[in-house]
């Protein structure tokens, strides 16, 4: 049963990722795209956690943690770029 | 309101506790080695990064803080259901709005917590805190500050403002005693 559930959730996340990609491509504005990218980062955390479940291995946890941290930093950086041009001032 | 730490070697006790827990969480173990190193790191890291922390009011009422956290968690869960409904429901029914909420809080940490809470709870996202006091000359009195929020589906502006102030801002003022 669990396997089927995991596959189902996989499908959900995949659809979510595709939706994010659609928004990313569609825009129309830059903030829209950044938002889409940020969401994509978070959704891929879900994806990786699910991989971990599927393989029964906790080895992928750090990747998820890192995406959470780094995705945040990169979103913030892009926003800062659009706001001020200069990220580090 | 208190800025000064009680112990010089433990300037931010709650942060240290948090770090200690994080270490145990990371290692998923309460073996002696990990506890030992966790303690050491929980003391050393705050000392190392102390300089990277602007003086902030310290938590005076930890229990209240815990209650606040639990309340916010609850709010997140319940309210997310509402948002889900809003998202999936017909778009025409939504009444988005920008609302400005006057702030009584003055310090950065409490304001940040408030703004974050607002963002995490249903239907609202913090947009701006203004005016910015970044370049405010020293000694000048702080002006009245506002929190601009975007609401996904506004029913009653006054009620929303009141709820935010009473449900979140007031406890924060208590916790930080400011």
């Amino acid at each position: 049963m669990l396997n089927n559930v995991i596959m189902l959730v996989f499908a959900m996340i995949s659809v979510a990722l595709l939706l994010n990609l659609w928004r990313l491509l569609r825009g129309p504005s830059l903030p829209d795209r950044i938002l889409a990218l940020d969401t994509m980062y978070i959704n891929s955390i879900a994806l990786i956690i699910l991989y971990g479940l599927l393989m029964g291995s906790p080895l992928y946890f750090e990747a998820a943690l890192l995406i959470a941290m780094l995705g945040f930093v990169s979103t913030v950086a892009v926003c800062k770029f659009l706001l001020r041009g200069d990220i580090i001032e | 309101m208190r800025f000064k730490p009680k112990f010089r070697w433990l300037p931010t006790p709650y942060r240290s506790v948090l770090l200690f827990l994080v270490w145990l969480l990371l290692n998923q173990s309460i073996e002696a080695v990990h506890v030992f190193f966790g303690l050491i790191l929980a003391i050393i890291i705050p000392l190392l990064t102390l300089r990277f922390r602007d003086p902030q009011p310290l938590i005076e009422r930890p229990l209240l803080a815990l209650r606040y956290i639990l309340r916010v968690f609850g709010d997140i869960v319940t309210a997310n259901a509402q948002v889900a409904v809003l998202i999936l429901g017909p778009k025409q029914r939504l009444n988005p709005a920008f609302v400005k909420v006057p702030l009584d809080l003055q310090h950065e940490l409490p304001i940040t917590i408030l703004a974050s809470t607002v963002s995490m709870t249903p239907g609202t996202v913090s947009a701006e805190i203004y005016p910015s006091v970044e370049q405010l000359p020293e000694g000048e009195p702080l002006p009245q500050r506002w929190l601009l929020i975007h609401v996904l589906n506004l029913k009653d502006e006054a009620q929303l403002i009141a709820e935010i102030k009473q449900r979140y801002e007031a406890p924060l003022k208590e916790i930080f005693q400011c």
Binding site: I42, T75 | Q135
Partner: protein, 122 residues
């Protein structure tokens, strides 16, 4: 016991998955940027919480302890509002159009001109 945990895992995973999906649907469906922002910021965060809880339960199935997923949840809870804040700031700065029926649009202007008597640094 085993069975109960399995059910819990399934429940949390499905819950999480659904919220993640809903968040992304919101991102796709909503008519303007400000409204799109709500879905990912909240629903997705909660959804992540669900999935991570599911994961915690899952690994306890095999007898192990896996609680570090909590960290990710905490992390997301701290950062998601900030990301949202930065994004909406950017959107306001870019003067993105909100749909016409948005109320309080006049509240934006004062928030944008935030000089405080002094000239800003370059």
């Amino acid at each position: 016991m085993q069975n109960w945990i399995e059910w819990a895992v399934a429940f949390f995973l499905l819950l999480g998955g659904s919220f993640v999906l809903i968040g992304s649907i919101g991102l796709t469906r909503m008519p303007d940027f400000f409204m799109r922002l709500h879905g990912p910021t909240k629903a997705t965060t909660l959804g992540m919480g669900g999935i991570l809880l599911g994961s915690i339960f899952f690994f306890s199935l095999s007898g192990g302890v896996s609680v570090h997923e909590l960290l990710i949840t905490i992390f997301l809870l701290i950062t998601a509002p900030i990301s949202a804040h930065m994004l909406i700031k950017t959107a306001l700065h870019h003067k993105l159009k909100a749909i016409t029926k948005t109320k309080g649009l006049d509240n934006i202007a004062p928030a944008q001109s935030k000089q405080h008597g002094r000239k800003p640094l370059p």
